[in-house]
């Protein structure tokens, strides 16, 4: 505990980078996965292609993806953008299917009712389909958030600092407290992300709360 008490500042600074490196890809990934997931629903031939590709992307070991990013993107070796792009790829890989399935979970009669009420095209997507798909998408987003927080820690092996530095430094100098602090900080961060997504889901799906209260 003394180690932790002496290093709150460091932990906080590293946690802040960690939030960035795990959080920004979550938002970017969702923004990319939404149209892709929609396309997978719209053109059913795309579905298997997108799902297979994202499954494949998810099997690439993170360390390799991080290291190869500067070569692919032409960025500098220490640029945090390398990590952000790699994490966005993983997030999209996890979310495309979730979004597609989420949109698919909207019952046909609801869509027909919407159409009958004059909802068409984009308006129906944003006004009816997407809100109804929120629970499924949020569940996928939570998995992605937790996985992102864990994977980002690997970036300390390529010189992009975040909470993973506590792990590598602790291992190099045999400071158990530092490693434990790193683990706990990652778990706490994952819980915070999880809580935020749950909160967002609740705010976006008021009708589900109403059900819960009544029952």
């Amino acid at each position: 505990m003394t180690w932790v008490n002496d290093h709150w500042g460091d932990i906080f600074t590293l946690a802040r980078s960690h939030v960035w490196l795990a959080g920004v890809p979550l938002i970017l990934g969702l923004l990319i996965a939404l149209p892709l997931g929609w396309a997978a629903r719209r053109w059913s031939r795309l579905y298997p292609v997108l799902i297979s590709t994202s499954g494949l992307l998810y099997t690439i070991p993170s360390l390799a993806l991080f290291v190869l990013m500067p070569i692919i993107l032409g960025t500098k070796v220490l640029d945090p953008v390398n990590v952000v792009v790699a994490m966005t790829i993983y997030t999209v890989a996890l979310l495309v299917r979730t979004v597609a399935d989420g949109l698919g979970s909207v019952p046909d009669h609801v869509l027909q009712a919407a159409r009958a009420m004059g909802y068409g095209g984009l308006r129906r997507f944003f006004g009816v389909e997407l809100p109804l798909a929120v629970p499924v998408i949020a569940a996928g987003l939570r998995v992605a958030a937790v996985s992102n927080v864990s994977i980002v820690s690997v970036a300390s092996l390529i010189g992009v600092p975040q909470l993973g530095n506590l792990l590598t430094d602790g291992y190099d100098r045999f400071i158990t407290a530092e490693i434990i602090a790193g683990i706990v900080a990652c778990v706490v961060l994952a819980l915070v992300f999880d809580g935020l997504i749950l909160l967002g889901e609740r705010l976006l799906t008021p009708w589900r709360r109403a059900q819960v209260v009544r029952s």
Partner: protein, 305 residues
């Protein structure tokens, strides 16, 4: 739709807020020195370091000494191995890094053969890329070494690396992964001493020390300044053929900043000896003190900070 946008906006804002409240040093801010390309003279200086404690400590010392001279210096610790941090120096992510003379020689010339400290220093000057410059070297040397436990040294009667010749086949060597490929590493042991270990285990830092102590490896490639050698009574085998050459600590900087950085960093080099750096390293590795604090004390004691 509106609700959706506003929640997204709030979440984004929350994440941005959470990460921005500590000031302007977020990693994605492209105006931060770490990402701003090869800054021309006068700007901030980032000192990089390799991913082992001595390099981190030296980076902190360099940064502290520069700050004392009014230069806006910060550190970028634990970048990785030489192959990576030299790339970072090249692309302008960092402007200086603590280095070792002989290691640079081996890096730029696979057949590098100089062993005398002065000759190593001058010939490395000629090998460096045009955009890099070495400042003055220090007397402090941190060399590679092959160490074994006291028991192994006694039972196998080992004093020098050459003594391993007939025994290494039955032994395992633990070393950082890069040691396997570097010319003065495994290939060098075979070429210079005819020593080939039966097996190789990739380990670094204290994990390597523990593995030697616990008998998972029979010999280990550990830096001579590592305090764990003395602490565990390990025996450093003498490098009679000077395979590892001379490894004086030296600041490697980008050329267009060298004049500006030279006074502070040369003063540091002057104050460093092998005993001094070993003593400082003991504080970070054994006593688990922060590199920053140990660096600050050293600078203060030497009127550099």
């Amino acid at each position: 739709m509106k609700r959706m946008t506003s929640v997204l906006a709030v979440t984004t804002a929350a994440i941005l807020g959470l990460s921005a409240c500590g000031g302007g040093s977020d990693p994605l801010d492209s105006s931060s020195p770490a990402a701003s390309g090869s800054a021309s003279s006068g700007g901030a200086v980032v000192i990089g370091s390799a991913d082992f404690p001595e390099s981190e400590l030296l980076a902190e010392i360099y940064a502290g000494a520069l700050k004392a001279k009014g230069i806006d210096a910060s550190t970028k610790p634990r970048i990785g191995s030489r192959e990576i941090y030299l790339k970072a120096l090249e692309d302008g992510s960092i402007q200086a890094v603590p280095e070792y003379t002989g290691a640079l020689g081996f890096f730029y010339d696979k057949a590098f053969a100089e062993t005398d400290p002065e000759k190593v220093y001058t010939s490395v000057q000629g090998l460096l890329p045009a955009e890099f410059a070495m400042l003055e070297k220090s007397a402090a040397e941190d060399n590679d070494s092959i160490v074994v436990t006291k028991e192994t040294a006694d039972s196998q009667q080992l004093k020098t690396i050459a003594d391993l010749k007939d025994k290494a086949g039955e032994m395992s060597l633990g070393a950082p992964p890069e040691f396997k490929a570097r010319p003065q590493g495994v290939p060098g042991l075979a070429k210079t001493y005819g020593v080939t270990f039966g097996s190789f285990r990739e380990l670094t830092g204290q994990a390597l020390v523990q593995a030697l102590k616990n008998g998972q490896v029979d010999a280990a490639n550990i830096f001579t300044t590592d305090p764990s050698i003395a602490e565990n009574g390990f025996v450093s085998l003498e490098d009679t053929e000077k395979l590892f050459g001379s490894q004086n600590i030296v600041p490697l900087v980008v050329k267009d900043r060298s004049e500006e950085l030279a006074p502070a960093l040369n003063a540091v080099s002057k104050a460093l000896t092998t005993e001094v750096i070993s003593g400082l390293l003991k504080q970070t590795v054994t006593d688990k003190k922060d590199a920053k604090d140990v660096a600050a004390e050293f600078l203060k004691a030497n009127n550099l900070g």
